[in-house]
Amino acid sequence: MTESVPAARRGPRSVVVTGAAVLSALGRGVPPLLSATLDGAPAFAPVLRFDVSGRQADGAATYPGTPVLAEELDQAVGEACDEAGLSAAQRAGLPLHLAVHGDPELARATPERRPAHGADVFADAVARRAGLSGASRAYTSACVASSTAVADAAAAVAHGQADRIVVAAGYLVEADQFAVFDAGRALARDGRVRPFSTGRTGLLLGDGVVAVVVEAASAARARRARPLAVLAGWGRAGDAYHVCRPRPDGTGLARAITDALHRGGVGPERIGYVNAHGSGTQVSDTAEAAALRLALGDHAPTVPVSSTKSVHGQALEAGALLELVVTIAALSAGRLPVNAGFLGPDETCPLNLVLDRDARPVADHALSLTTAFGGANTALLVGAP
């Protein structure tokens, strides 16, 4: 692996988040999601949305009923723009970055109709229905799709290529992905996600449909919008190691974290909380703990860490955005999400896990970390506005 890592750079403008909307297994809106994560109250239950009788695992965190992804994305984008205080005219020119696995109808479309179900076409349709006529694009990079979409939006806004960009993401637990995760023996056999804990047996999927407005701080100020958070830094790097396993020494994720801190101009001592990727799988959690030790140095053993996947599950392409919103809400509330499902310490994960309710951030910035197949790693750094 090369050591010639280029110095991360960024454009000159400050970047903020001015609106956020969420649908999760906990309900509609940020408050029920934040409340459950602060309480460490998991939302996992046997799946009722489709038949799981032939599967080895049956749990997931799902919103009741059978929500439709396109409709939920429309609602999330609208609500995020509402919260940001954007008029219809202000929305009209906005670009959309949409993170999705793809059009849910593609796999069962007739061959002739398949080109009409591309992820790019799907993103265009969401943008059109939301009244966003700027350029739309789709990100399909698995679990880092939405954090990559945020990083690209932040980078573009920082450079002045846009004043604001809507970033949206959606995954609703469905039979096909459930089946392949089950076939890969990736799903927790005991119905719980236990990040960084002894006895962890895997991940569980969860619903997430999320939208945020990423905006230049100056543009937000000019229209007197109140930011929810500063998007202070971002970083991404690859492992160059394996198709689906993380590099055990954590160096890829550590580079992403280091780049995010560098762009944010803050040191590890300014990190008051880490919302870890914490999938609850053996090798991934251990590699992530190694990455935190590399990137945060002497501060790694004391920085509070939890994985909110232990409550809302893994929302795949939407997961990183869901967790960014939780992280922002927790920072704003001045309380930290609990690492639920914890059975006992794992010596390969020597972290200061948040295990008690009412824990408080120890500094004014937080990291939201995500890793994905292909050795993709991202780190998003947020600060209080």
């Binding site: 990079s141 392949v180 292909g374």
Partner: protein
């Protein structure tokens, strides 16, 4: 109102919209044209197929059912072998111990692994067994990881659905120092039983210096 220049828009008629046949989206010609439009330098390029002998992309261990990942890997292999620094010794302009430039892997596919997705959907609907290898190859990241590991590409891994976005993403990664080069791979699997599988790849480096950034933004004083 956005007073800055808009982000680059998705395709529309590009430089290939003139008389004559439009190159396939997953071709070296189309990617080279798109790179030029995005002010990126093409260091090498390749595609599948390139000749009548290209009938099926070489299989990759661990990838089953679908041609998506083999197509991406073969286009990437050809492209990287033709690129600078592929021979013995360091790449031009790099010190002896610098290794390969930090290289992003950007995969473009509007439909993703279509054959794999259709296979899984059919198995789910029929109640058939699903092989464990389909777990990881359900996302385009998987072959990006294969290529990154094979060629030691340590930059970001990004998957998007259209070429213009991929070029914009690559340009920003290079401008912001996230990567020194970007390997952009486009895969278009046949969407009908008799259709052609196509893939292409370009290795991209920074183009000429960009124009000065706009100085006037909404909310800022002139």
């Amino acid at each position: 109102m956005n007073l800055t220049s808009a982000l680059p828009l998705r395709p529309g008629p590009g430089p290939d919209a003139g008389p004559g046949p439009r190159p396939a989206a997953a071709s070296a010609a189309a990617l080279t044209q798109a790179a030029s439009a995005a002010c990126l330098r093409v260091l090498s390029s390749a595609q599948w197929p390139e000749s009548a002998e290209d009938r099926a992309a070489p299989a990759i261990a661990g990838f089953v059912v679908s041609s998506f990942s083999p197509l991406a890997a073969e286009a990437a292999r050809r492209c990287l072998l033709r690129g600078p620094g592929s021979g013995p010794g360091p790449a031009p302009g790099r010190p002896d111990d610098a290794g390969r430039p930090v290289t992003a892997v950007v995969v473009v596919s509007p439909l993703g692994d279509l054959a794999g997705a259709a296979h899984v959907a059919e198995a789910v609907d029929d109640g058939a067994r699903i092989g464990p290898l389909l777990f990881f190859q359900a996302v385009p990241n998987a072959v990006a990881g294969h290529v990154a590991a094979r060629w030691q590409l340590t930059g970001p891994v990004v998957c998007v659905a259209d070429t213009a976005t991929a070029m914009t993403v690559s340009a920003l990664l290079l401008a912001d120092g996230d990567a020194e080069e970007a390997l952009l791979i486009r895969v278009d699997q046949a969407h009908t039983p008799d259709g052609p599988d196509r893939a292409a790849a370009v290795l991209l480096g920074p183009g000429p210096p960009p124009a000065p950034e706009p100085q006037l933004h909404e909310g800022e004083q002139p």
